[in-house]
Amino acid sequence: MKKLPDDYLFRQRVIRRKREKRRRIKEKNVDPSFTSPLLGSRRVVAPEYIALGKKHVHEETCNFIDEIRHAAISGERVRVDFSKTKGVYSCGTLLLLSEIDRLKRIYGDSFHFSCSYPSNEKVEKVFQQIGLLKLLGKDHRMEITPDDKDVFYWRYSTGNVVDLQIADQMFKGIRDQLPIGYRRIVRGVEEAVTNVVHHAYELPRGDRLDRFPAAREKRWWVFAEIVDGWLHVVICDLGIGIPRSLPTTWSEAVVDIVSAKWVQRRRDIALTERAFKVGKTRTGLKNRGKGLKDIRQAASRLGGRLWLTTNSVQLRYDFAKNKDAEPAASYFKQSIMGTLIQWSVPLGGADKVNASEANQLSLGI
């Protein structure tokens, strides 16, 4: 009788699994991008647009990021396929970068993620500029010059304390193009960072990663870019979101019930709007809660726009015509599991503080 090879049974199992997989694909139209970890890496396909805003784009981006996170939690090897990605926008890209950076900090050498180079040259340049390719183990191969106007002025920084010295290179990189009055944006960023450190990580995020020390860091990520005469600054945290960080008092809860706002989506939108309007704060202390007004004023005084996405809520302010503009609100099925704030201000038309006026006033006059 012929002796079977030692690995005969193993090979038979592999052949059987491949046969079953082909059958499943044929019968149920299963996504062929999935591959069992035993046979190789899992391919995760990035969407055409990595952005937040319009409903289907928001959902595709969030689903993509969720898939990456779940794959990391499952310990799978993942290859991110950027070949279909045509466009990347600040909010979605920063969210993606933040999640991958956080996963890498959590898993260290056990983080088995790689990617393909994007087919779109501009997308590749952006990913190179912000360090995403390096995070995913890819070498930089493009030359980026000031002629790459849409790319060259993207800057990125991250930290876990309230110290914007960390982001000094980022701000100095664009500082020469900004009048002094634009430092209101820095003020808004400072307050946003302070809020992150004080409130965003008070409770577990709830993504099954909270047991890792790196996941509990009070980390923030910030982008700045100048594109087509607009300054865009975005800050991201992967914390609990503004609605979860603001417990309502009993009296406010009664008002909400009576006014029929006691539905999750309306409650979350109402809480977030209230926080920005009156400076509502988790602590309830009289000397606190001023930072959110700073965040709003950083856009309103410069005639710009403010987008706030926190968990499933999105508020959009347009202060171009009205400094007291009310926000347009959306509620998405997919939560970003954190908070993103984007300021967009036009560089041409806002008031500039006249720095040559040395204005010395004694307090009390």
């Binding site: 430092r183 000397n287 001023k290």
Partner: protein, 101 residues
């Protein structure tokens, strides 16, 4: 008169409230610079120009904290502290508001 240039002597990026937030917080500026200067008996001038920006958390903790936590009265501070802010004069009014709260 004692002069303090915040951006040169403390930080170009003052931010945060408490020392636990980071190195250049309002509490650190108040305890390490403002309080010793005010307690020296001299009048104090603080120049805010040159920094990249001042968040309300920093300003409230640094200046409002003089009254709330350090035992100064608002009038004492108003009489002995001069704020210089050519880059953004509105900061003077804001600081006054925090002292009077």
């Amino acid at each position: 008169m004692k002069q303090i240039n915040l951006a040169l002597e403390f930080s170009e990026y003052p931010a945060g409230r408490y020392r636990s937030d980071g190195k250049y917080s309002g509490q650190a500026f108040r305890e390490d610079f403002l309080v010793p200067a005010l307690r020296s008996g001299e009048k104090v001038a603080v120049n805010l120009d040159g920094a990249m920006g001042y968040g309300s958390s920093f300003l409230e903790e640094a200046f409002g904290g003089l009254v709330r936590d350090e035992g100064f009265s608002a009038q004492q501070v108003l009489d002995n502290l001069q704020i210089i802010s050519g880059d953004d004069p509105s900061l003077i009014e804001e600081i006054t508001e925090y002292l009077k709260q």
